[in-house]
């Protein structure tokens, strides 16, 4: 292949792919059992980090940025006047193998603009993965994008070679989608997702009976939503997210703060800030839902449609539910310990382990490394000293904010000054 040509294509097609957030390379179980190249059985590895602090684990590129759709939020939309390029199947294979052999990457994340038709595009994505697996004996991680509207047969084949599949629903509500991407409809996104979900269920069932059942998307499927492009509130976003986790057994939903890329009047203008803090609060909520035993309606509901920016969602929930506190760390169950503001699951386990040997007081809690700045207002332990004042929610919030500096201080003051 001509070096200059490949170089130019790579620049264009990596640049266009960078808005896909997922870079996970863990969760698969593909071992290097054929003495081939690569192993995707361990934990994920971030081989580098870009200057925006995001991890570089996979070679993340589009097969092509030619696209027949005209979605307003997308940089490769048909009407956008940009350089277009397309990789040949073999070029992607060569790049992946050569990057992998040099320990630059954990594998490939291949997406694409839609050219001709959904199936035509999906076929080429599958061809890359198939070639890597069958001709190059490649056991590294492969993440393929499921193209909306792709046929069941192709989705079945895709899962046989890929570790993870994903479809981005992009816009959290159907009405938003209609406004910004009039050529697309939600059914097209859902169709491949349903197929992959069913295949995974079937694979897991068959695997129990026949050990040699060929793997099907062992790292599951994920999706992504753009935040701050179409005016949804956090309640709507997390409702959608919750729906997808439950209905499609997704491994992850990613939230991507909208990076302005056009002067379209329907969207935030170029130069407006990326809502990174809001993105962070949504991820915190996502974690509370998946690992901390919260129901999404406890955090976001008709009364509280948006997350606070100045405090984290768990603290915010606690301040609205002071009747649940204080919690006694020596007797409370795991569920309630996980609800104490400022404590992560790691701290919860530390408490559970430590309290088997002795009753815990403030000294113990500090020694095992708990962060008490927030937690102190919500717990009692084996000590006579505890918060005795009957503090109101606002008072507690004030005390906590006084004694802490957020790493988002700069962002916060910027955002507040907007409304001042």
């Amino acid at each position: 292949m001509s070096f200059e040509r490949t170089q130019e294509k790579l620049k264009i097609l990596a640049d266009a792919a960078k808005y896909d957030v997922s870079c996970s390379s863990s969760g698969s179980n593909r071992k290097n059992s054929n003495k081939g190249l690569g192993d995707a059985s361990g934990m994920g590895i971030c081989h580098s980090y870009t200057e925006d602090g995001r991890c570089v684990s996979l070679l993340k590129i589009l097969l092509t940025n030619y696209c027949i759709f005209d979605c307003a939020y997308c940089v490769t939309r048909k009407s956008n006047d940009i350089k277009r390029a397309a990789f040949k199947v073999q070029e992607v294979v060569d790049l992946t193998i050569n990057f992998y052999r040099r320990n630059y990457i954990e594998g490939l994340f291949l997406s694409s603009g839609i050219f001709k038709s959904a199936d035509y595009t999906m076929e080429r994505l599958v061809a890359v993965a198939k070639k890597l697996r069958l001709e190059e004996n490649f056991n590294g991680y492969i993440h393929l994008k499921s193209i909306p509207g792709a046929s069941d047969e192709l989705m079945r084949e895709a899962g046989l070679y890929a570790d993870r599949l994903s479809v981005n629903i992009e816009i959290p509500t159907e009405s938003g989608l209609k406004r910004l991407a009039p050529d697309k409809n939600r059914e097209d996104f859902i169709k491949p997702m349903v197929k992959v979900k069913n295949e995974i269920i079937q694979y897991k069932a068959e695997k129990k009976v026949i050990k040699s059942t060929p793997k099907y998307a062992p790292a599951g499927q994920s999706t992504q939503m753009i935040i701050g492009a179409s005016g949804e509130n956090d309640f709507q976003i997390m409702q959608t997210s919750n729906h997808f986790y439950k209905q499609f057994n997704l491994k992850r939903v990613y939230y991507s703060g909208y990076v302005p890329i056009s002067y379209d009047e329907r969207l935030p203008q170029i130069g407006s800030a990326v809502p990174m803090l809001r993105e962070n609060r949504l991820y915190q909520t996502d974690w509370l839902m998946r690992f901390y035993g919260f129901d999404v309606s406890e955090i976001l509901n008709q009364q509280h449609q948006n997350l606070d920016l100045d405090i984290d969602p768990k603290l915010s929930w606690a301040l609205r539910n002071l009747h649940e506190f204080p919690v006694d760390v020596n007797t409370a169950d795991k569920r309630m310990l996980a609800r104490i503001p400022g404590l992560g699951m790691r701290s919860v386990h530390k408490i559970l382990n430590a309290r088997r040997f002795r009753r815990l007081n403030w000294e113990h809690l500090k020694k095992i490394g708990l962060a008490l700045n927030r937690a102190q207002y919500f717990i009692v332990c084996d000590s006579h000293i505890f918060e005795r004042r009957d503090l109101s929610s606002e008072k507690i919030k004030g005390l906590i904010l006084q004694n802490s500096t957020s790493k988002y201080q700069k962002t916060l003051s910027n955002q507040l000054s907007l409304f001042a």
């Binding site: 790579l10 960078k18 590895i45 870009t50 925006d52 602090g53 990057f99 040099r102 320990n103 990076v259």
Partner: protein, 257 residues
């Protein structure tokens, strides 16, 4: 009782042999030192320890029977940190473990155990970083070559990872600081010394030694690294926390061009 100074050859087996000697001679006042650390105690008697695999194995077997697999691994990790005084901590830990009836590796109120756990964690992080930051360059002899300069002696820990992953290519990872490397010949991984030309520059890709195409792939990788960055989300503080500056020297994507 006289103070004794045991000198071992710097290997883990050597260290375990020294531990064996401590128990055999029932020494209470003792220093364990590598031969290379020339720091004689003025009033102590020096004994050179000759590494004995069977003695070392006996001690290691004893340790494994007293601790969880994680606990015994922590001892090995901490040993590889090569930190000053780590031998004394290890000996204290091992003595305590042998004296107790139960498994002590979670007893963090014991100062040596806490300290060893912390050191082992640092070594574990360095191991993981090296699995990420190794950058192979293809030599003219078809061997993928990488050089590293890790804070701790992690080559023995990363060997299995690279063997599993790169089973179909010859590779070599060289530790510049400790002047030895791993070499995989498509069958097994072995430790090796390397004699490099005097003018060999570890940060450059000299065309006398490396395949011409390698520079192409380095360029492509650098381009990719730049293209995949989102400028409007720039966050250098986070970047440097994930990729500390001391590792930039050998990362192809961080080379000025």
């Amino acid at each position: 009782m006289k103070h004794k100074n045991l000198r071992y050859d710097g290997t883990f087996d050597g260290f375990l042999t020294a531990v064996f000697t401590v128990f055999e001679q029932k020494l209470t006042q003792v220093d364990l030192q590598k031969e290379s650390d020339l720091q004689g105690g003025l009033f102590s008697e020096i004994e050179i320890i000759i590494t004995d695999e069977s003695k070392a194995n006996r001690v290691w077997k004893g340790i494994k029977s007293k601790l969880s697999p994680q606990g015994s691994y922590q001892l090995y990790y901490a040993f590889l940190s090569e930190q000053d005084g780590v031998e004394a901590l290890l000996l204290d830990y091992i003595t305590y473990a042998f004296a107790s009836d139960e498994n002590v590796d979670k007893d963090y109120s014991h100062p040596s155990i806490l300290k060893i756990a912390q050191i082992a964690k640092m070594v574990g992080r360095e191991k993981h970083r090296m699995e990420a930051f190794v950058r192979f360059k293809l030599t003219k002899d078809d061997v993928y070559f990488a050089n590293i300069e890790p804070d701790f002696n992690v080559l023995p820990l990363i060997s299995k990872h690279f063997k599993n992953r790169y089973a179909d290519q010859k590779w070599m990872i060289y530790d510049i600081k400790r002047q030895y490397g791993l070499y995989y010949d498509l069958q097994t991984v072995s430790l090796m010394q390397m004699y490099l030309p005097k003018d060999f520059n570890f940060t450059k890709t000299d065309e006398n030694y490396f395949a011409a195409e390698d520079l192409d792939f380095q360029t492509l990788w650098q381009d990719y690294f730049k293209s995949t960055n989102i400028a409007s989300r720039k966050n250098m503080k986070l970047h440097v926390r994930h990729v500390p500056k001391r590792y930039w020297k050998y990362l192809s994507e961080k080379q000025p061009n």
